[in-house]
Amino acid sequence: MKTVPGDRRRRWPGLLLLLPVAGLLWVPFYDRPMPALFGFPFFYWYQLAWVPLTSLAIWLAWRLGRA
């Protein structure tokens, strides 16, 4: 098994995981039509943008967490 033992992983990068949670659960921030992008109202493209950003955040949390 090539897993890194839990206690040897850095803890702080785990905070990166909270970014998408906060960015998507604070709905009033993105509940608006403007500014639109390629015809997509802000509400839609903002949430779609979080898809690659979440992948990036998880990847960073994983990489930076390796001691």
């Binding site: 839990g6 949670v21 998507l24 015809g39 802000f42 979080w50």
Partner: protein, 513 residues
């Protein structure tokens, strides 16, 4: 979005469409069952298939197979039908599926690698196995297993509804399509176990991706581009307050439904089965990074609900929205292909669900007469349980009705969330005890069910706070009640000695090999 769907299509895809459908649907079933059966038997004498092999693919799936398998069984065919249907019916509010399927991945990354390690070390196949090992409590094990089983049967039923929806759109009404769907599913899982969906998930995903990419490029072109599409769709909806996209009072239910759905998603037997079948913990971490690609697809699928409005689809049966839209826009042969993609897309998750449910029955619910080890007897028992679970799902639709399956699935989401404290919070140093968790589970189940029933089968519950009203996800409220009771009762029993458990909590660092 809850009535049975009559085949009120504007046209049928024609003979060519039906031919394309049958070709792809049959090919997938034969391939999955055949390859899965061969994989499951290669290199060992006939009949020596173990339950770990049938039920968890021998815990051997690498990054790509896990990606296709989990993606294929989390984003179900019912999703392709139901999410656009919801968006068609309620507009932007239905998009909560998008934040839900994004924030689920930080959760998967944080929790699942640890659960995988514990499952691997202890030879566990199910959530209830893990809970039994952690808390040494047979009642808690049964509670967790029964909850998972209760939640998964209506979910399988909805996959059958998904297959029936496209079969009816092909012009094959009546109960015959449903029986065909059922027999295909049964043969497929019986022979292949978890190997069958793992191998066909690839085909299914390629087909679904192709259909959705064509749909979200071609359909807006018909409708004058995305800007025009959003504008036309908005004209069919109740207008939101100026400067907003969601309606009044929808922000809180939007956020809480996204959160509770995300927390519940990987507690289901089928999703957890997909995760535990991974080869190692890093496979899961890598998948937490890669799986959001499916969410992009889901966001585009959700747009189909708006596109249907723009395309002038008018129906009171919103589950028919996607088939109607495809028949309106696509030539018959491509509609046939799209319907085959959806039908195969139902088969893959339904098979994983049946396998996950069968694991629960054989390992956790049956009285512990047989030794709980891998072996040929246990694999056969799992096959039979899988078949019974599917029969129960079929009964859900045939004897009751599809609306009942939908309502039960809603309740299932609330219920399955009540296993979170035992399974996930058991990883933390919270001093939780079996007695507390069992009391919390009972409170959450009872409270959640009562709220859902009292609210007329709605997923949100209205809270009256200081003069204002706020709708909050019922599952989340039930979970809070569950947590409060779990902690309080655990605290009350804190002085008593704990039973010895077969694995220590991970902070003692004793669970790893």
């Amino acid at each position: 979005m809850s009535a049975p769907v009559p085949a009120a299509s504007p046209g049928t895809p024609g003979a060519l469409g039906i031919l394309v459908f049958v070709l792809f649907f049959a090919a997938t079933i034969l391939l999955g069952a055949g390859l899965g059966w061969r994989r499951g038997h290669s290199g060992r004498p006939a009949g020596a298939e173990t339950s770990e092999e049938w039920g968890l693919g021998g815990r051997s799936f690498g990054t790509w197979i896990t990606w296709f398998l989990v993606g294929g069984d989390f984003y179900t065919a019912y999703t392709v039908i139901a999410v656009p249907a919801l968006v068609y019916a309620v507009g932007a509010y239905g998009f909560f599926a998008l934040p839900y399927t994004i924030i689920v991945y930080p959760f998967v990354y944080a929790v699942m690698p640890r659960l995988w390690q514990l499952a691997k070390a202890g030879g566990h196949l199910t959530a209830a196995d893990l809970v039994r090992a952690r808390f040494a409590s047979r009642p808690l094990e049964i509670a967790v297993a029964a909850t998972g089983l209760l939640a998964i049967i209506p979910y399988i039923a909805l996959q059958l509804v998904g297959i029936r929806t496209v079969l009816e759109a092909l012009g094959l009404p009546g109960e015959v399509p449903l029986v065909v769907a059922f027999v295909s599913l049964a043969a497929y899982t019986w022979l292949g176990g978890l190997h069958a969906p793992a191998l066909t998930a690839f085909l299914k995903d390629v087909m679904i991706y192709l259909v959705v990419i064509v749909a979200v490029t071609v359909i807006p072109l018909h409708l004058g581009g995305y800007g025009a599409m959003f504008a036309t769709a908005a004209a069919h909806m109740k207008p939101p307050p100026a400067g907003h996209v969601l309606g009044v009072g929808q922000a809180v239910p939007y956020a809480t439904l996204a959160l509770s759905s995300a927390l519940a998603a990987f507690l289901y037997p089928h999703t957890l089965t997909g995760v535990l079948a991974a080869r190692d913990a890093d496979t899961i971490r890598r998948n937490a990074v890669m799986l959001p690609a499916y969410t992009l697809l889901l966001g585009l699928i959700a747009m189909l609900g708006l596109m249907a409005h723009a395309a002038g689809i008018v129906t009171s049966h919103s589950t028919a929205v996607v088939p109607l839209l495809f028949l309106r826009i696509f030539p018959g042969w491509f509609a046939g292909f799209a319907f085959a993609a959806i039908a195969v897309g139902a088969l893959v998750p339904a098979a994983v669900m049946a396998v996950g449910a069968a694991n629960l029955v054989t390992r956790n619910l049956l009285p512990a007469l047989l030794p709980r080890r891998s072996g040929p007897d246990n694999a056969r028992a799992a096959q039979v349980s899988g078949l019974l679970v599917k029969l129960a799902a079929l009964g859900c639709i045939l004897l009751l009705n599809p609306t009942f399956a939908i309502d039960l699935q809603l309740l299932g989401g609330v219920w399955v969330l009540q296993t979170l404290p035992a399974l996930v919070l058991g990883l933390l140093k919270l001093g939780l005890r079996a007695s507390g968790l069992l009391a919390g589970w009972a409170a959450g189940m009872a409270g959640g069910t009562w709220m859902v029933m009292a609210d007329g089968l709605k997923p949100v519950h209205a809270l009256h706070l200081g003069g204002g009203t706020m709708s909050v996800s019922t599952g989340l409220l039930a979970l809070l009640l569950n947590l409060a009771v779990s902690l309080a009762v655990s605290g009350a029993f804190a002085g008593l000695a704990q039973p010895r458990t077969s694995w220590s909590p991970p902070w003692r660092n004793a669970a790893r090999k």
